[in-house]
């Protein structure tokens, strides 16, 4: 088997909270997360509510946030020990797309600079003419007409256009991996579809993607694999279709039940009643399941023990951090670190 593209083992990231005059407390944003992006082009979606640690995980992978424990290996190399040259290669092969298309540009420079800097820095073209061709080709790949975009300033473009310019930049780099953190939450419905279709095309061309979203319908459309995070921990993982059609963790079930149906003939069953509780309304204990305060199936041991990963629904590819599935497949707990 080839070395995985990205291999994360037991990652832990903490933030220091408060404490202007005296020591604050540490907030664990990502807790014991392991994941693998295989060598072959693939799509992995990370879902969870706000505060679940999904963006922090992305920032840690990109090297924008230091982590406290665990290991991130990119193509077999430990990122904690990257040399200058290795960082340079990493930045060529891993490209981010952030949530806010209005904040990711320098308002003083024209859009062209986004591309020209890349061409110069990574020596993508041997002369000016080639560079121009390359830029235009990349813009066409994301359904933009070069004259509509080049020579203009960021404030002259709409949110959807800006996000697509980011995609064009990514396309020009031909990276191995895109890390997209909620890239479509600030653009319109019609443009979202366009953006998602481009990502699917990219996968066909050999670009993997780690897609972060809170929108399950979007995640389902992309397919691939899914990881569900709650309060810094991964609580369910598996193939998209398995997890969406047969969710095994009560938290995943809650998320799926809350997605609007797109069909006025199949509205929510109001008798069921939703639990209108924000994650931020609860205290969390180190020694309890992260979902115990809201879980409809809560048992005594959930308050005192952290469940390990169990294979759920008798499927080896679907794992759930919930005691309900302890007995599903002769209950062999594992750390959930194995590739999906």
């Amino acid at each position: 088997m080839d070395t995985p593209l990205l291999d994360i083992q037991n990652l832990k990231v903490t933030y220091r909270d408060g404490g202007l005059f005296q020591g604050g407390r540490n907030v664990v944003a990502v807790d014991d997360v392991s994941l693998t992006v295989p060598f072959e082009p693939s799509l992995l979606t990370l879902v969870g509510e706000s505060g679940s640690g999904k963006s922090t995980l992305a920032r840690a992978i990109l090297g924008l946030k230091t982590y406290d424990a665990g290991q991130i290996r990119f193509q077999g190399q430990d990122m904690g020990r990257f040399s200058q040259q290795q960082w340079f290669d990493f930045r060529r092969q891993v490209q981010p797309i952030f949530q806010d298309p209005y904040a990711s540009y320098n308002p003083f420079y024209r859009i062209d600079r986004v591309f020209k800097t890349l061409v110069r820095k990574f020596k993508l073209a041997s002369n000016g003419l080639d560079a121009e061709k390359l830029v235009e080709e990349s813009l066409r790949a994301v359904d933009l007409r070069p004259p509509d975009v080049l020579g203009r300033y960021p404030h002259q473009l709409s949110g959807g256009e800006r996000q697509r310019v980011m995609l064009a930049r990514v396309y020009m780099m031909r990276p191995r991996l895109i890390i997209a953190d909620e890239p479509i939450s600030m653009i319109d419905a019609a443009l979202r579809a366009l953006f998602l279709n481009i990502l699917l095309d990219f996968r066909e061309q050999g670009i993997s993607c780690l897609f972060i979203t809170h929108n399950l319908a979007t995640a389902y459309y992309l397919g691939g694999d899914i990881m569900v995070m709650c309060r810094g921990r991964v609580i369910e993982r598996g193939h998209m279709d398995d997890v969406i059609t047969n969710p095994s963790h009560p938290y995943t079930q809650l998320l799926i039940d809350s997605v609007p149906s797109h069909d006025p003939h199949q509205r929510w069953d109001t008798a069921q009643g939703a639990t209108a509780l924000d994650a931020s309304e609860f205290e969390f204990s180190e020694h309890a399941c992260v979902f115990q305060a809201r879980c409809p199936h809560v048992m005594d041991r959930c308050h005192t023990e952290r469940p390990a990963f169990f294979s759920a629904q008798g499927r080896s590819g679907q794992r759930s951090a919930c005691f309900l599935h302890e007995d599903d497949l002769a209950g062999q707990p594992d750390r959930g670190g194995a590739p999906l």
Binding site: E49, S50, D143, S158, G159, G160, E161, D188, A189, A190, L191, R192, A193, L194, L196, N197, L200, H214, N215, L216, A217, T218, Y220, Y221, G223, I244, T245, L254, L255, I256, D257, S258, V259, P260, S261, H262, D263, P264, H265, R267, W268, T270, G273, A274, T275, A276, L277, D278, A279, S280, E281
Partner: protein, 334 residues
């Protein structure tokens, strides 16, 4: 005029003046809202849906102004002839019906609470300003409403910063119902909330109608949310209404080419994966709307007349209305 009519908006135009010219953000909207229905307003950002409701609430501030239009409001079911034109009311007259007949849950309403007042004081403030009530009456009402939105009584004593986003949103919903208004306008009330909280808030909004008989205008860019909640739906594009119908008509058999594409561009959860349709081109600028049908530059079904003549609004047999030449039987299709 049908007896169950609550609000009748006709030829509404709201423009913004700037050095570059006039931004015609809302440009000729006609819609009617019936009593006790949840009426949805949908469309992409910049289509004028929020500006339209700000217009009928008289919240437009310069450089914006209401260029023309009427909004006939019939708040008293016992006296159906009693009609107020919201656009012509003076400031004190408008103030007299705010909260009592007409309340507003604004966009990002969780940030609209006063950070230095306790929740109960803010709510009492609203009640006592508009209605001669005793302090005890207000408190009883307040407890009842907090219970209705599923919040403990202790929330009344809290300051806004002590509550989560979803809780603040629920406080705003409780407040909007305080004086039992005839009409509640909710502008994107669930944006920025987590999905499970969104579901609870939407069910609460439906309960406002079911338990109190309120009429609700619900503004959202998210069509899935409309499918879940509303009874009738207006699709807006470029400052105009493209199609109005019941939620079943719009989702089962959309007629306008724009509505069709908008509905086919949203992914759904589960089921077969089909490649989503996209709408080519980009939304036009309110500074310079396209001549003829405003959707024609992006419309794959456009015919020559679309770029010359603005389509009239056609009433179809099943009660909905559509603004498209393709559905207008008086136009000879070229």
């Amino acid at each position: 005029m049908p007896a169950d009519r609550l609000l009748d908006i006709a030829d509404m135009r709201i423009h913004y003046e700037s050095v570059r010219g006039t931004y015609k953000v809302v440009d000729g909207v006609d819609v009617s809202v019936n009593r006790q229905e949840i009426f949805g307003l949908a469309g992409e950002s910049g289509c004028g849906k929020s500006t339209l409701v700000e217009g009928i609430l008289r919240l437009i501030v310069p450089p914006g102004h209401i260029r023309s239009g009427t909004a006939h409001f019939y708040p008293y079911p016992e006296q159906p002839e009693e009609c107020l034109d919201l656009i012509q009311l003076s400031y004190p007259e408008m103030r007299a019906i705010r909260w009592k007949q007409l309340s507003y849950i604004p966009q990002g309403s969780m940030n609209s609470l006063n950070p230095v007042m306790r929740i109960q004081d803010q709510m009492a403030d609203v009640a006592l300003t508009h209605e001669p009530m005793s302090r005890e009456q207000v408190e009883r009402q307040l407890r009842e409403l907090l219970g209705f939105v599923g919040l403990p009584e202790s929330v009344g004593k809290a300051y806004p910063h002590e509550l989560s986003g979803g809780m603040k949103q629920r406080v705003c919903i409780a407040m909007s119902m305080l004086l039992r208004p005839a009409l509640i306008v909710a502008d994107e009330p669930t944006t920025a909330l987590d999905v499970n909280v969104q579901r609870a808030v939407l069910e609460m909004i439906r309960n406002l109608r079911d338990s109190f008989g309120a009429t609700i205008i619900f503004v959202s860019h998210d069509l899935a949310v409309h499918a879940e909640l509303v009874d009738r739906l207006a699709i807006m594009y470029a400052g105009e209404v493209m199609e109005v119908g019941t939620v079943y008509q719009i989702f089962d058999s959309p007629q306008h080419p724009y509505t069709q594409r908008l509905i086919h561009s949203i992914p759904s959860l589960g089921g077969e994966r089909v490649r989503l349709e996209t709408i080519p081109g980009q939304a036009p600028s309110p500074l310079d709307w396209p001549v003829g049908c405003r959707f024609h530059p992006r419309c794959p079904e456009a015919i020559p007349i679309c770029s010359r003549v603005e389509p009239r609004t056609v009433a179809l047999d099943d009660g909905r209305s559509v603004s498209c030449h393709l559905l207008d039987s008086t136009i000879a299709l070229e």
